[in-house]
Amino acid sequence: MLIKLTGGTVYDPASGIDGKVQTLYVQNGRFIKRPANDVKIDKEYDLKTKVLMAGAIDMHTHIGGGKGNIARMLIPEDHRKDPVHRSDITRSGCGHAMPSTFTTGYRYAEMGYTAGFEPAILPINARQAHMEMADIPILDKGGYVMLGSDDYLLRMLTAKKDQKAINDYVAWTMNAAKAIGVKVVNPGGINAFKFNQRKLDLDENNAHYGISPREILISLATAVKELGVKHPLHVHGCNLGVPGNVNTTLDTMQGIGGLPLHLTHIQFHSYGNEGDFKFSSGGAAIAEAINKTPNITADVGQILFGQTITASGDNMRQHANHGFASPDKWVSMDIECDAGCGVVPFKYRDQNFVNALQWAIGLEIFLLVDDPWRVFLTTDHPNGAPFTTYPHLIRLLMDKSFRNDMLATIHPEAQKMTTLGSIDREYSLQEIAILTRAGAAKLVGLEDRGSLAEGAWADITVYTENADREKMFEKPDYVFKDGELVVVDGKVVHTKWGTTHIVRPDWDSSVEKDLQKYFDRFMTMKVGNFKISDDEITEDGRGSLTTHSLNGVT
C-alpha cells in the first residue's frame, strides 16, 4: 500500500521543518522518498490547509502496572460517570480518571497520540505492567523500571560495591523487566518508610542502610550513563508536595555533577514556603535553574482542576498526604522488598489556594523554560489530571488571553502569588511539536519515531488549523499508526497493536550468581521465574519488541 499525503503544512522539528508545505509518501508503514511518476499511488489524502505532525508521544503516563489497577478498583463511582460503549471494532470500557486499557488506547489515539511510556515499573510487578500495556490498542508503549528503594541496591551501596557491579545490576534489571529507562522515586524513601521514617531529605540517611538519596541518585545516574542508556535517569525527587521543596529540587540538579537527569512532574517539586499561607511558587527559580543546567530535562506534571486519582510509587509521601483524599479513601502498599505504592483520589479545586497555585506553578515552568527540547508536556496522568486534558493544556500554553482569562478565575490569593499574568510567551505549533513529538522521542531514545522524515515509522497526526487550539488538538482529522489509518475526525476507525520499546544493555553474567543467592535467601520466587522472557510479550501474536540502540559505551 502506497499512500500519498498531499500538500499539508508540516511541523517536523526532528528534521528542522517548521510549517512547510510538503507532500509525504508512506509504504510498508514507513515514510519513503517520492516514488517515480509511473508508480501507482494506492490512496491519496488531500491535506492542503491541514497541519501535519508526527504522532504524539507521552513520555510519562501511568498506563500500566499494579497501582493503576488499584486505582481502578478504588473508584467505581468515577467510572460510572464515563461508560464507554463497545462498537463493531472497539471494546467497551470506562474512561475519565483511570480508564480501562482499551479505552486508554482509543482515547490517546483520538487525540493524535501514538505512544505512551509507563514511568514506574516495579521490577517485581513488571509482568503486570506489560500485560496491561499489551491490552492497550494502537499505542506503542514501554516503560522505566524503578530502582532505588529496592533492598538489593541498598545492600550493594552499604557494602560499597563498585560502580561496575551497580551497572551490571541495573542492566540485568532492565533486561529482566523489559525496560527502556530507569526511574527512581523518592530515592531510598520508599524503603525508609518501611523502617518508619516519614521523610527523607536529600542528604538524610536511611535509618537502616546509612545511605542518602543523593548517593542513590549519583550511583543510578552514573549507571544509566555508563550503560549508554539514552533516557537519562528519570527522577521523582525527594519531598514531593512539601512546601519549600524547591530547594531540594535545586540541590538535586546542582548536586548531580553534570550527569544527565530527567526530573519528572517537576511542578510537584517546585514549592516555596513563603507568604501568608506558607506556600509559594518556586516556578521561576526552577525554570531558571533548568535554563542554566544543560544536563537537566524535566516534564511538568501540570495539574488541572477536577476529580482525578493519584497513583504513585512514593507511598511515603502519599501516606503523608492521605488526609487530602477526596473522596476519603486511599491505599498504601509496601511491595516485595522492591518498592511500594500509594493511591489517593484527589479533587483539584480552582478555589483552593494551594491547588490554584499548583496550577499556576506548572504553567510558569512551561513558559519560563527557554529550550522546548528540555521540557515535556505531561500531567503525570492521572496524578495532575487525566491525559484527556492535554488539548486544554496546549491551549493554555498557546493562547495568552485564554490563559489570563483562566487565571482571573482562580483563588484570588493564588493570583497574587504568581507571575503568570505577566508572562507573554505563547507556544508555537513547532514548539508544541517539539514538546510532544520530536523532543519526547529523543529523550526516550526512540529511533525512527517522532519524525516525518524518510525512513521513520509513519505515525502521523493531521489537524485542521483552528485558533481555538483546544478544539484543534482534541479532534485530529486523521491519525495514522505505522502507516495505517486508525482515526478519522477524532474517532477510531481501525485498531491494531503497537510495539513495546526496550533497550538491552549488557551485563556481566556473574551478577546473576549473587542475585540467585539473594533470591533464594530472601525473596519469594526463584530468580529464573522473576525474569520476563521475550515470548511473554510476543506469544499472543499481538505484541512485539523493538530494541533501541545505546550510546557508545566508553
Binding site: 478504588l74 460503549h85 470500557g93 470506562c94 480508564p99 518508619n196 537502616h208
Partner: protein
C-alpha cells in the same frame, strides 16, 4: 520421563515456585515441595480429551459452534467460575463484551467483603517478601492459616534467614477467632501461637473492641465474646510495639453478614497504628484458582472487579445485583457459561438453563451440560500467567507436558469469533 524443577503453582495462591515434578507421558508426579493443595492439583489425571455436545463426543469446532449458537440467542448470559489464567481471562472478557454477558468470579461473594471495604475507605497492605523479611508480629484474624496455605509458615515465617530480623523464630503469632488446625504455627523454638478463640460471628464485636483499645479507649467490660479484655489489650499493645506488625485475614472465611465491616474495622485499625509512630500492614488471603487473576484482568479491561455486566454495551459493576447465583435463582439469566481450568471438583451450579462448560479435563457432571469443552490446565498443559494472593506478583506458569488440550483462551476466543 523428564524432571522439571522450579515449577510455579497456580493452585495454592501463595505462588510457590520451587516444586520438582516428574512428567511421564501425561502423568505428572510432584517429587519435591508438594503440599495438600498443590500435589493433587498437579497430579489430577486427564480423562476427557474430546468435547461433547448433549453428552456426545464431537469435534472442538462443533462444540464451539454450538456454544456460539446458544450465546447468540441469549438475552442475558452469565459467565461464572472465571477460574483460569491471564490469557484465559482476556478471552473471557472479550466474549463477555461481545455477548453482553455478566462476568462473575466464583469467589467474588467472599472477595466482595474486601472490595466493599476497599471502595469505601481503602487499606494499607503488604506483600509476601515484606512479611518474610520484616514481620515481627502476626495477628491472624478468623482464618486457619495453614489450612488455607499449608506452606505459608515454612516459606514466609519460619524461613531461616531474613534481612531485618536476627532470629525469625522470635516472631510472635496470635490467632483471633479460629484456632490453628495443625502445628505449622509452632515456631522453630517450640513456641506455640497464642489463641484468643471466639465464634466467627463474634469477630465484628471483638475487632471493634481491639481497635478501640488500639486507640486508647476505655473498655468497661472484662470479657468480650469470651475473650478477656486484658488479652485484647495485650494484643493492642503488642501491635503498637511491633516494628512491622501484620494483620492477616481471609475474606472468604469471614462467613457472616456484613463481614465487610469487620474487614473495614481491621483495615482502619491498621491505618490507626501507622499514625502511632510505627508501621503495620494488612495482608488479605485469597488468590486461589485464579480469583486474583480474574479481578486483575477484569480490572484493567473494564475498570471494575470481576462481577460486572456487559449487556448494556458497556461495563456496569454491582457487587450484589450481578451475583450469578442470585441471577440464576431469580430467572435473570438464560445461558450459563462455566469456566474452571484448575479444579475438576468445582462444578457449575445446578440449573435448568442451557449450560456451556469450559473446564479442566476430568470434571464429572450429575447432568451433562449442553456443551462441555475440556481444556488444559494453565501451568501444566500450557504456559501462562497467574496472580499470587498479594496481587502484585504474576507468576509465569510453565508448560509441563504435551496433552494437546486447548487452552481456555483458545476456546473462548474461538467462541467469540464464531458469534
Amino acid at each position: 520421563m523428564t524432571e522439571i524443577i522450579e515449577v510455579p503453582s497456580p493452585f495454592c495462591g501463595i505462588g510457590t515456585d520451587d516444586l520438582t515434578v516428574q512428567v511421564n507421558d501425561l502423568a505428572v508426579s510432584v517429587m519435591a515441595n508438594g503440599c495438600a493443595v498443590n500435589t493433587p492439583a498437579f497430579e489430577q489425571v486427564i480423562t476427557d480429551t474430546s468435547a461433547r455436545v448433549d453428552g456426545k463426543d464431537v469435534s472442538l469446532e462443533v462444540a464451539v459452534a454450538k456454544a456460539a449458537e446458544l450465546l447468540s440467542v441469549s438475552n442475558q448470559p452469565v459467565i461464572g467460575g472465571c477460574a483460569t489464567d491471564v490469557n484465559g481471562m482476556r478471552g473471557l472478557m472479550a466474549l463477555a463484551d461481545h455477548s453482553g454477558a455478566v462476568v462473575d468470579n466464583m469467589n467474588f461473594t467472599g472477595a466482595r467483603r474486601n472490595f466493599l471495604a476497599l471502595q469505601d475507605t481503602g487499606w494499607m497492605n503488604t506483600t509476601l517478601a515484606e512479611i518474610k523479611n520484616r514481620c515481627d508480629y502476626l495477628l491472624v484474624v478468623g482464618v486457619d492459616l495453614e489450612g488455607f496455605a499449608p506452606r505459608f509458615f515454612e516459606r514466609y515465617l519460619w524461613n531461616q534467614e531474613s534481612m531485618f530480623l536476627s532470629d525469625t523464630s522470635q516472631r510472635q503469632i496470635v490467632y483471633l477467632g479460629k484456632a490453628p488446625s495443625g502445628e505449622a504455627s509452632i515456631s522453630p523454638a517450640g513456641v506455640k501461637a497464642k489463641v484468643l478463640a471466639c465464634k466467627d460471628a463474634d469477630l465484628p464485636e471483638v475487632m471493634a473492641v481491639l481497635r478501640a483499645l488500639v486507640k486508647g479507649k476505655k473498655i468497661v467490660a472484662d470479657t468480650i465474646c469470651g475473650i478477656a479484655v486484658s488479652d485484647l489489650q495485650e494484643v493492642a499493645d503488642q501491635l503498637k510495639a511491633a516494628k512491622y506488625g501484620v494483620v492477616t485475614w481471609a475474606a472468604g472465611a469471614l462467613n457472616f453478614d456484613q463481614a465487610e465491616l469487620t474487614v473495614q474495622m481491621l483495615s482502619e485499625m491498621v491505618k490507626d497504628i501507622n499514625t502511632m509512630d510505627t508501621r503495620c500492614s494488612g495482608f488479605p488471603l485469597g488468590g486461589k484458582e485464579g480469583d486474583q487473576t480474574a479481578n486483575q484482568v477484569c480490572g484493567w479491561t473494564s475498570a471494575y472487579p470481576a462481577r460486572a455486566r456487559f449487556s448494556s454495551g458497556f461495563p456496569e459493576y454491582d457487587p450484589f445485583l450481578y451475583d450469578s447465583n442470585v441471577m440464576l435463582a431469580n430467572g435473570e439469566a438464560d445461558v450459563l457459561v462455566w469456566v474452571q481450568a484448575f479444579n475438576v471438583t468445582s462444578v457449575p451450579p445446578v440449573t435448568e438453563l442451557p449450560t456451556i462448560v469450559v473446564a479442566r479435563s476430568g470434571m464429572v457432571f450429575d447432568k451433562q451440560p449442553d456443551v462441555f469443552i475440556p481444556v488444559g490446565t494453565p501451568g501444566i498443559d500450557h504456559a501462562g500467567h497467574a496472580y499470587r494472593l498479594d496481587n502484585v506478583v504474576a507468576i509465569r506458569l510453565k508448560k509441563l507436558r504435551e496433552s494437546g488440550l486447548p487452552s481456555t483462551a483458545d476456546v473462548l476466543n474461538a467462541i467469540e469469533q464464531a458469534l
